[in-house]
């Protein structure tokens, strides 16, 4: 536990306020992660992701999705091409109607369901018992750009190119592909979308609305966001360097992540072992500015405190942080202040990992894939490093205990925090705890 004092009292107050004095960990159903699926710049699948991360590599490199010669920067974490392969257990919808983001989402969902041992069982659930909770910022924008480029030139492309243009396309595609009949909800709250979608899944599972939730996010590279973030001068010309003194902005990535979430008793009943428990979620808004974070990090701190309160954990019980850590000067500084608000002096000692340093910023999916990495960190007992760069020291103004160069073993870690700080000031935080129960 954290030592007492004014600095430490704030999170408890915020938690009590945000949670209405109720910890979700009380008499609510316990919700665990039973399967993971990912598509990232490191490739298709969770193992490709984890091996890339723990090697301290970066997927941020020159890319070929579109001609970026006229853009200000020239790097992105592009998902490598994949030979056509059917997604396990999914109905194979007409491929030409799917956007790239849909395909990422379907692949991640198929992998997650397979890992959870639910591929065929999903269809055996009572009607309405499975739901999809997804985050996305741009859905099928990449395909829309191709279509609209033709339209601007006076040409009319085939409508099928934009059949899945909407932001809800990836979540709907997953629901359609796997025959989901329960609630389907797409959150589009910029960079917090994935985390807020997972929070929605948690609420749905706790109240018994669903028995199985496919929660995650998906986004693909597109010119709109690439040029847009460059217009704000918030993209680094080099791979992003969160919390470093020389950081100069973010890097953009793409991909999908899906967590299969279920009540604990359901997973144990079928003889499976949870990967981690989703103990709590919280959200709060800066209400400050459309693009700049509130500099003192009060909104982010409130979201973290709400998640801790929901999990029934004290700040001192968090063993590591998977930070939002975009690498922009303002965002990292505000996030550091938020961590200071919550963790006090201990903030500088808590191991912090920054997945965006390797994968870039997956926008509407970032909260989901970082949640997934947090689960892997707990399940495998180590934190992935960010690429080493001895020439670029940690910023004295935000001295996070960043894991650098090689993995950090954390076999005793019990709880990890994942943060998401979005455009428009929407903040979200998730708390996962290690599953310590006996194997069934």
């Amino acid at each position: 536990m954290q030592p007492g004092g004014a600095t430490q009292a704030a999170p408890a107050e915020m938690a009590a306020r945000a949670s209405g004095g109720r910890a979700g960990g009380g008499d609510a159903r316990r919700v665990v992660v039973s399967g993971l699926g990912a598509v990232s710049g490191f490739g298709w699948g969770v193992e490709a992701l984890w091996q890339g991360l723990r090697a301290g590599a970066t997927a941020i490199r020159p890319f070929s999705r579109f001609d970026h010669a006229a853009h200000r920067t020239h790097l992105a974490a592009e998902v490598p091409a994949r030979p056509p392969a059917p997604v396990p257990f999914a109905a194979q919808p007409e491929g030409r109607l799917l956007s790239l983001a849909d395909r990422f989402a379907l692949a991640a969902a198929g992998e997650a369901l397979t890992a959870a041992g639910l591929g065929e069982a999903l269809g055996l659930l009572p009607e309405g018992a499975a739901g999809v909770f997804f985050g996305s910022s741009t859905g099928g924008m990449w395909e829309s750009e191709l279509f609209v480029a033709g339209l601007f030139g006076g040409r009319r492309g085939a409508l099928r190119a934009v059949a899945s243009q909407q932001v809800n396309g990836p979540g709907d595609a997953v629901a359609r592909g796997f025959g989901v009949t329960g609630p389907v909800q797409t959150v589009s709250s910029a960079c917090a979308s994935g985390a807020l979608a997972i929070a929605a899944a948690l609420a749905s599972l706790r109240c018994g609305e669903v028995e199985v939730a496919l929660a995650g996010g998906s986004d693909s590279l597109c010119q709109l966001t690439y040029a847009g973030f460059n217009s704000l001068r918030s993209v680094d010309e080099a791979p992003c360097r969160p919390f470093r003194a020389g950081r100069a902005g973010m890097s953009i990535g793409e991909g999908a992540a899906v967590l299969v979430l279920e009540p604990l008793e359901r997973v144990l009943a079928r003889g499976a072992l949870p990967l981690a428990e989703l103990a709590g979620a919280g959200g709060a808004c800066d209400a400050f500015h459309m693009t700049a974070p509130e500099p003192e990090g009060t909104g982010a701190a409130a979201a973290i405190a709400a998640a801790l309160g929901d999990a029934g954990l004290a700040a001192g019980e968090i063993d590591f942080v998977n930070a939002h850590a975009t690498g922009t000067p303002l965002n990292d500084a505000a996030e550091w202040r938020a961590l200071r608000r919550v963790f006090g002096e201990r903030a500088g000692r808590i191991p912090v990992t920054a997945t965006k340093a390797a994968l870039g910023h997956l926008l509407g999916c970032s909260g989901a894939i970082e949640a997934l990495v947090t689960v892997l960190s707990l399940a495998r007992g180590e934190l992935h490093p960010v690429p080493a760069d001895a020439a670029d020291p940690i910023d004295d103004a935000c001295p996070a205990a960043l894991v650098i160069g090689r993995p950090l073993a954390v076999p005793a870690a019990r709880a990890g925090l994942s943060t998401s700080l979005a455009f428009g000031g929407s903040n979200a935080a998730l708390v996962f705890t290690r599953w310590t129960g006996a194997a069934p």
Binding site: R22, P126, G128, V167, D172, T186, G283, A302
Partner: protein, 464 residues
Amino acid sequence: MNREVVITALGTAGAHGCGRASLERALAAGAPPPATEVDRAAGYHQPEGARRALITPVAALAPWLPPAEARRMGPPSRLAVAATRMALAEAGLDPARLAGPGTAVVVSTAFGPTSFSEALLRQVLQDGPESASPYLFTECVANAPAAQIAIACGARGVNVTLCQREAGALLAVARGAAEVAAGRAERALVGAVDEMSPLLHAMLDRFGALARGRSRPVRGARRPDEGGEIGRPFDRRRDGVVAADGATVLLLETAAAAARHGREPLARIRGWGSAFDPAAPPTGWGASGEQLGRALRRLLLRCGAAPGGASPGGLGALDPPASVSGGPPGASSPPGASGLLGASGLLGSIGAIDRIVSGASGARAGDRLEARVLRAAWGEAALPPVLAPKGVTGEYGGGFLAAAVLAAAGVAGVACAPTAGFGEPDPDLGVSPHDGRPLPPPRALLASSLAAGGAACWLILGRP
């Protein structure tokens, strides 16, 4: 924690103007406001395509949004912030009272800020990526309206934007109500917003979503000019929706807080539910209403409001709020039909829904599915009176949500409003919307929204 949630204020902007009074007049009259000719200069439209949409008069927003603020916002943000201020003004609530972590914001948008996205793409694709305007980019994210509402009010609770096409508005209410019911927020500003840019209008038309009227023969038409560009919910002649822009924002708070502050609720939120039809194509509706009908019936059973029941006592069983396949927020019960039937513990006061506000819009397949879902849920029992306000409000822009709340509030004329655009029953549907005859205010109202792509959401509203 499971607290009773009520709607205490409503702000709405649309082609009818600003504020609920103008919408109430249009609904009670059963006549849509005048439609606006959509700018076709960009050449996106097909020559024979739809030409009109229900567009909010820009000048009407001015009293709610000073130019110095409006200039920093895209069209959806302007609509959303203006509607928020209308709601707060109606409640007599100083926006400063909402500042703080207790106020959540949940907004839905079907398509996001399309005009700014289009303008930004023109810059990027035609003038070059370094021409991209940071201002356009900032306001082309889907969550810009929710963020601007938060900034305008200092609302520092959770801030969520939902995108689920036509089901989004009711989903936003459900999500906000869940936040308040569970005690995660003291109040929530919830609603829906959409703009209708020429590009979006043209795309909806090319997908065959819009009513074209004279420009295209209507199946079953008796005269070649039959139709007009009119949304005709449940009508045999329907051939698509009339697209609309606008925004509706509601203030949700606990019944206790409303009473404490002397605010008379418009309606009480008594349940919600959502489901998905995986048979639906990405741009259309499924053909069978059986599965969604079962989901709706589960919600009604869960709420103790299923048709065919015997309790005239009404909706006591609807307390606390229920969700479609589970218990009230914070409670736990098994999902699925069998689990609900056996475990709800809320049965015993059923057959209580006495009004339906349908999302039927004039879409051929959408209205057919809506009718099938309602009939499947009600089974052998007769449907209560069905209102279909999208003949007045058009599709998108939150007008439907406002109409549902006003009907639940028992607003004279609205709660029994005639159905604009309806004239000839469709024998294939078996549902005829209400003809405007006087009805008592509803005790419990079901609002229904089925989205293209497969999503569905329902909301049960009761008198406070």
